[in-house]
Symmetry: C2
Subunit: 347 residues, 2 copies
DNA sequence: CTGAAAGCGCTTACAG
DNA sequence: CTGAAAGCGCTTACAG
């Protein structure tokens, strides 16, 4: 049977068998050529690899994982995609992971609640690793991961579940810096715009902000509830400011997108001036924060370092799925002063 | 051997064998219960499915695809992620595909050029279908898809390659509408801000705009080269306007993100007023277009319909991979008038 | 260092 | 309608 006839019969792919026959070697030998740590003559490996390239053979990953129990698939679970911080993280993570030969299977959760089903299907593909972006897991879902012995990395937002990995910014420190920045510049009536109430990022940023204010003898920051990490939520929080007896002069928002929604509403609907009447600080430094239309003062999220830490973790877990769970907390980047804050000491 | 001991030995998963033994049936029968079109007694199927649910059995998709040659994987290739139009498309596509039981394997191409390698790896996983978002394929890559008989759908941006599927907006019609809108309101010196020069979306929008202007006896629109679909590119195009002898009074931008970059630069760096000195129209109606900070007049991209068409196509191709290639062109949504355009007839 | 054989978890003709 | 057997494309002890 000619090679072409064979390929016709078995679908369109070249298999080990084809390659072995072509080279006059056994299937075992051919297979070994593709495993760096396999015992095989140097010269044999070279011949196999060369010929494989010529006829376009590449091992079928499904057949391989059936035996090795490793799939080189990482499941990426994404929810809150309206935050412009995530698209970049997603794509960069995907290409960085590809660089260490891991493939990303994407799971999108439009509404919270659907994550569970999606995750279950994902788990079917036996990912070597699951990375959760911008979401948390229900404890049922977390348990399924544990049961299938799939390590989970929470990126940015941490989870209460024990036994999982985490990579996050030191959000509390970020909150403290925001407080210092405002207080140093003469702000005295602080407010925090709170996003998703129990997201770790939200809680920690608030805590750092409030604690630092207390340490410096400033009245506790008022909390304006936005409710989620979105533009619309920031908008709503500004409306809520109407009901306050005393207007805050320094506002720290849970993140940039919330800050931008807040800004737009404060200026447009409340008719106030920023930074004239009040200063606003965000968190993340997403690209649009530097656009002149927003020019938002904000704290940079150390994305590069977070990404690097995540990939390093993925690599470790690739070698040893049973590694000890660890939370990596990375210092926030600098506070970037733009045009939504000003010095009030002369007021 | 107890079930638990067996699960210990074979990793952590329950297999057909386990379930068959548990039920006192053959492996074949159990397998048949999971295929709607298999010949099996109604009652048997019910029993199998019920017990499967109890002990958490679900067929291993890898083992299955080894035989069926269908993976239920769709490869999603994404490039230009800075356009906020895409994150939404990506996640919605992912969940819609999940609804028809297809899983998304993500490939990110940061730079053009890397798509080829990424695609090759993807093809290894034998996706039933590849969807290309915001990118084109090199002809080498396109040929690899053909060779492996993997259907390709181009979403939004079309490709010159024959034999592939396409879902796009009727961009030419969109361009015509932009021209009519501006001309009807007294604009006479038109300009087009061109993004990626040979992207089909860019070419078609420009063509429709220019053709309609010609039909209505208006001088051919000046072309301002932005060079890509990004904020920074729009910014550059505004700078390029400095060298023009006559300033345009009506500008149609290749898409919203380019328009926003253009707007910011026109106002900030050129010190011009929009819509006072000139009107600006975008294309897409991304979420931020309605933020008061931009309030961009734009043409809505019919995302819902495009998504629906893509999923329908995916379904068809799932049933019959050899379906006749087709390009679906969907009428653009309405032109939404906001605050970057005004009526100049009284000027 | 290489090859023959068993087996990963499934599906699907083929008998009965 | 059900079961035994072959086989999908690989990897990996086990001999030699």
């Amino acid at each position: 049977m000619t090679m072409d006839a064979r390929r016709e019969r078995t679908g369109t792919r070249v298999t080990v068998k084809d390659l072995a026959r072509d080279l006059g070697m056994s299937v075992s030998t051919v297979s070994r050529a593709f495993h760096a740590d396999a015992v095989i003559a140097r010269e044999t490996r070279v011949r196999v690899l060369a010929r494989a390239k010529e006829i376009g053979y590449t091992p079928n990953p499904f057949a391989r994982s059936l035996i090795t129990k490793r799939t080189r698939i990482v499941g990426l679970v994404v929810a809150d995609i309206t935050n412009p911080f995530y698209p970049e993280v997603m794509t960069r993570l995907t290409s960085d992971l590809r660089a260490i030969d891991m493939n990303v299977m994407l799971v999108a959760a439009d509404q919270s609640g659907t994550v569970d089903d999606a995750l279950r299907l994902l788990l079917n593909y036996q990912p070597d690793l699951v990375i959760i972006l911008a979401a948390t897991l229900s404890s049922a879902a977390a348990q399924e991961c544990r049961k299938s012995e799939t390590p989970v990395i929470f990126f940015n937002r941490l989870s209460g579940e024990a036994g999982s990995f985490g990579v996050t910014c030191d959000n509390e420190e970020g909150g403290r810096r925001a407080a210092d920045f405002l207080i140093d510049r003469g702000h005295r009536r602080l407010a925090y715009v709170s996003a998703l109430a129990d997201a770790s990022t939200n809680v920690e940023r608030h805590r750092g902000f409030a604690n630092r204010a207390a340490e410096r003898g400033i009245e506790a920051p008022v909390v304006l509830e936005a409710g989620s990490f979105s533009y619309a939520a920031g908008h709503r929080a500004a409306e809520a400011m109407r009901t306050l007896k005393a207007r805050p002069d320094g506002v720290f928002c849970a993140n940039d997108i919330v800050a931008i929604g807040f800004l737009d509403a404060v200026r447009q609907d409340l008719g106030l001036s920023v930074p004239g009447d009040l200063s606003v600080i965000g968190f993340d430094d997403v690209e649009m924060a530097h656009w002149p239309s927003h020019a938002l003062t904000t704290i940079r999220q150390p994305v590069d370092e977070m990404l690097a830490a995540t990939v390093a973790l993925a690599k470790t877990l690739g070698a040893d799925a049973g590694a000890e769970p660890v939370i990596r907390r990375i210092a926030p980047g600098e506070l970037i002063e733009r045009q939504t804050t000003r010095d009030r000491r002369a007021d």
